[in-house]
């Protein structure tokens, strides 16, 4: 009874605090405020609104938040960008890690993570949904890639803490793995001749890998020449011939073509029965994308630039795609990726989460993938031959992170996200500033979509 009275008192105090200012003559000022005043909570709680949960939450509290920029040597990670890692510390010694890497905007993502500090320090990390709402709705500007990535990094770290505290891997908290052996994955690849494609096929099979992803051979304008269209189709036909029927392959159009050009290519590559065609045109205009894909039965995938479940709702509801590819480092972490997966499942859409960041995001994705009946395949920016980057990731993570075994990424066996980042290793790859996303141009000097 006392507890209820106390909670009531807190609510009343909040209401009093919210009252608009009163002049000396007892009248409220007219025409001198925007009207928000009666609704604004003037609570001095840190984080805002937290006091009311003190009797229903845990005793765990976030005591510190750090953000790490991690820059790899350009020679070993050409297309990679500085990784942005987030570390949360608690009053009980449990720490959580997440990833907020944002291509070409590392400094902005790092600053945005720290902008959210007042929402996070002092909070109960077990309240993952509430804290997600606090960061998303409480930021007023809902979404966008910078905020989405910052929320993603923090949310992953919160789930890592949750799992560690509950002594369970995150995928167990999400409903258990469909297949404990792991989740199917694919690597990136390129081959520019039939001989190369055949050699790639042999190495792929030898590594036990079942799927690869390629890109189109050219940049594409909004209307294209017959020569370039033919080269695009011939390239994909060559890949199918070289890889044979047993290696699945996808093609990332990388939003280069217009819907007009995409429709022509999609029409002609249907007989190749590809795993999927990705980002077949730019993502901003879904009606335009719908126009492009209606001529093809090749599975269409998109979603890496979509933020929050809200950002994915329209593409699901319009029935444009067969496969959704939100990125756990942008969409809003475990919380948002799970929600998108739930909505996709109800519409018969499979999930193939994008992951072109560092190893934490990839591993966090595996947890959501494992518990999703509609999961198809997980991306990572890696190759059949792991090379120097795989060595760096092993240095950071202490194990060969995101390397497939028998065509699957093995599920982490540890609790939480199942990772333990070496801060000593992080120091070997110090942040060297934002690396802009590479730009490219057509031969007439106009900007091309890469």
């Amino acid at each position: 009874m006392k507890r209820r009275n106390l909670l009531g008192a807190i609510a009343a105090a909040g209401a009093l605090g919210a009252a608009p200012p009163v002049r000396r003559n007892g009248l409220r000022p007219l025409f001198s405020d925007c009207g928000c005043a009666p609704q604004v909570q003037t609570s001095k709680d840190k984080p805002p609104g937290s006091t009311v949960f003190k009797d229903v939450g845990s005793k765990l509290r976030i005591t510190n938040m750090q953000v790490f920029g991690v820059t790899l040597d350009e020679r070993i990670a050409q297309a990679d960008r500085p990784y942005v890692f987030v570390k949360l510390e608690t009053n009980q010694g449990v720490v959580g890690w997440g990833e907020a890497t944002l291509e070409g905007k590392a400094s902005a993502a790092m600053a945005c993570v720290m902008d959210l500090k007042d929402h996070i320090i002092g909070s109960d990390p077990m309240q993952v949904e509430h804290l997600y709402q606090l960061m998303y709705i409480g930021s007023f500007y809902r979404g966008g890639p910078v905020l989405g990535s910052a929320i993603s990094g923090i949310d992953q770290a919160l789930w890592d803490i949750r799992g560690k505290v509950l002594n369970l891997p995150v995928y167990e908290l999400l409903g258990g793995p469909v297949d404990p052996r792991g989740v199917r994955g694919y690597y990136h690849a390129s081959a520019w001749s039939l001989a190369q494609a055949r050699e790639l096929r042999d190495r792929t099979k030898a590594a036990g890998v079942t799927a690869l992803k390629f890109q189109l051979p050219d940049l594409l304008e909004w209307v294209e020449t017959g020569a370039k269209l033919k080269r695009a189709v011939k390239h994909l036909e060559m890949l199918r011939e070289g890889l044979g029927p047993d290696v699945d392959f996808a093609c990332d159009f990388h939003a280069r073509p217009s819907p007009t050009v995409a429709a022509i290519i999609l029409r002609e590559i249907e007989p190749l029965h590809m795993l999927f065609a990705e980002e077949v045109c730019p993502p901003e205009n879904l009606r335009a994308m719908a126009k492009a894909v209606k001529y093809s039965t090749t599975p269409i995938a998109t979603g890496e630039r979509l933020i929050a479940a809200y950002g994915c709702a329209e593409v699901i509801d319009m029935g444009i795609v067969d496969i959704l590819q939100p990125d756990i480092a942008h969409v809003g972490g475990v919380t948002a990726l799970w929600k998108v997966s739930a909505a996709a499942e109800a519409s018969g859409i499979r999930m193939a989460p994008h992951a072109c960041e560092g190893p934490i995001g990839g591993i966090a994705s595996l947890h959501v993938d494992a518990a999703g009946p509609n999961f198809l395949a997980q991306e990572i920016c890696g190759f059949v031959d792991g090379g120097e980057k795989a060595r760096v990731w092993e240095d950071l993570m202490g194990f060969p992170a995101m390397r497939m075994v028998d065509g699957r990424y093995p599920l982490p066996r540890g609790v939480g996200l199942g990772i333990n980042i070496s801060e000593a290793a992080l120091k070997r790859y110090p942040f060297q500033g934002t690396r802009p996303f590479p730009t490219t141009f057509f031969e007439d000097g106009s900007i091309a979509s890469l």
Binding site: R181, E345, A371
Partner: protein, 375 residues
Amino acid sequence: MRRPLPDFGVSFAPPQSAAHPLAITSFRAWRIKEPVSGRRYTVVKLQSQSGNSGYGEGGPASGLEIAEARGAVTGRRATESEFVRSRFAKVPALEAAVSNAMLDLVSRSREIPVYQYFGGPTRFKARLLAHLEGADENAITPSLERAKRHGMLAFTMPALSRDSMVPLRAYVDSMRKRVAAIHAKGGPDAEWVLDASSGMTPGDAATVATALEKNHLMWFDEPTGVLTADALAKITSESVMPIGLGRTVTDISFFQGLLRDGTINVLRPSLGLNSLVKIKRMAAIAETHYVAVSPYHDGGPIGTLAGVHLNAALPNSFAQQVPVPANDRDAAMRADITSGNKEVAEKGYAALFNRPGWGFDVNERALDAHSEERI
């Protein structure tokens, strides 16, 4: 409405190590019937290798279905709610009971409340909606008085059914009078939901919804049993009265379709037919349409209190429905099952139990005493 999920060709791996602490080793069930209302529900108890146990409630299920469920989940880990959602897609009452029992078990094994396991509290108290027994303003009185004594401030009121001989205008006037009379009974602090229990044609429902707009009811519940897009659009395109429905729906995709069409304002999945895990998925979809979830419940007290945990953990929940018995014998039985009446509120809100699992002790002797069958 009992369509399975979209088929992704998924086959779940067989049970892992039977020695795992969370591996389910024991499964019991009770088929419960309340003595006066005749309300039926199923309670499942699971026990794991570690000795932890958990209880879950679902709608009525047959003995055969329960026996099959026992075989399917024994040896599975109590975290495998996705397996249960898939395996029991065509037996929704047991999907709810088994999955919820697993949530209770795992939460108890971690010594945290279910709402904490389920994503943590998004609110520190949960609004209750009292579902009153009785078909008219007089018949609801005992139930209403009980609900008010138990601190509830939001109630359902029964809509009038329309005899075909009654002119539409007279019917609407009668409905207005009923709403006014029931409003007066509830007092100034009461909030109301008009419950048509699927009893109207879409056309009549549209007329009633429009006529009652200025009464500011919270929503118009289950106005029609005709759940086609066109029928529901007839109601929602003519009125701004919020429409709540879905008490018979077990298909997440069906709700998604209503949300796309804009023909639903409050999702009302039944706790007897959908697990908390499944309703969380429905809620995630509803969230992107700015639609609230307020689970329907016409089962027992374990179900009600599970709904309170769900309400606490979802960002877009609004209220948890509580069946409030008119008869003392039913009320006593419900209190007996939960070792004392827990279906109570203070100023309209239920407090959250910050104790492991559901946060109360299930009285197995009461389950034994009130069951039609123990399995």
